[in-house]
Symmetry: C2
Subunit: 174 residues, 2 copies
């Protein structure tokens, strides 16, 4: 694991090339002050293994380090979306099987199934959109967005949009 600081005056990719030359086999994770999709892309094609916000939590960094240690890449959610096209192939190559186990009796819980609209709204909110923005991109009133959001909160037992975001991103609010 290497910690270094890029010289702002020189192209990052050049410095990386230089680094790879002098050190040979290294795995680089770039921590950016102001993450940018395009920068990330060029860095990845320059051989970088991970790219995330410079202010990420220690826990996040450990997690990232773990992933890269295991031979993976860490690209973050948004960039992930931009890369889906090129990676979908690799992902869909995974063998998938479905095993219904038991009569799906359990169910029990408080019926947490979200409707299509609710899922749509929930995802938007979880990615940082305001009610107004969600309203615009869904072509509905902000009032209606609130209705859906509220219903999502109930079903998922989230107390506010931030907790919802944490949940939908594979984490759990404290």
């Amino acid at each position: 694991m290497v910690w270094l600081r890029l010289d702002g005056a020189q192209a990052a990719t050049d410095q990386l090339a230089q680094l790879y030359q002098s050190l040979g086999e290294v795995r680089v994770i770039v921590l950016a002050d102001q993450p940018d999709g395009d920068e990330a892309l060029s860095l990845f094609s320059a051989g970088v293994r991970g790219y995330c916000n410079a202010h990420a939590t220690a826990a996040s960094l450990r997690q990232i380090a773990g992933v890269i240690e295991a031979g993976g890449l860490w690209i973050g959610e948004s960039l992930m979306k931009r890369l889906v096209v090129s990676t979908r192939a690799a992902i869909s190559r995974l063998p998938v099987a479905r095993l219904p186990l038991g009569p799906v009796s359990g169910e029990g819980s408080p019926m947490s199934a979200l409707t299509k609209r609710e899922v749509e709204v929930a995802r938007a909110v979880a990615s940082g959109a305001s009610n107004k923005e969600v309203a615009r991109q869904c072509g509905i009133t902000e009032r209606t967005v609130k209705a859906h959001v509220g219903s999502v909160f109930q079903k998922l037992k989230a107390r506010d949009r931030l907790h919802l975001a944490l949940m939908l991103n594979g984490q759990r609010p404290s």
Copy 2:
């Protein structure tokens, strides 16, 4: 990759044991409707490879699948914190070196360094705490929390607490 539905009436661990018996070499990721740390722990000791919210984004799930494919575990931020004690050893075993590269000239950017207090507040906020809660757990006024939060927003160019959360968790808001 296996998709199945646990029978609510039977202990999850029992069903897992059964599953492992019938399928042998499988990697299980549990998607919980209401994630719970203790449940997660018992599931992990039962051999589960991943544990996250059942409503996680498709992108998140792909990411998780990737990590597990690479031989890793996916435990999520909060549980991670609970496990730090037991995993710290493994993590600190990673070789670490520091290479100052260049005269740290760049710097340039708009001075993004957060103060200790700001980091403390930012982390709390990013984990889902309200201003009031942060105030309580820091022993300061809610007003002061707002001051710090505001300053963090400026330095990190986050437009609101949700975006801040997304940033601090290794992602990037859309």
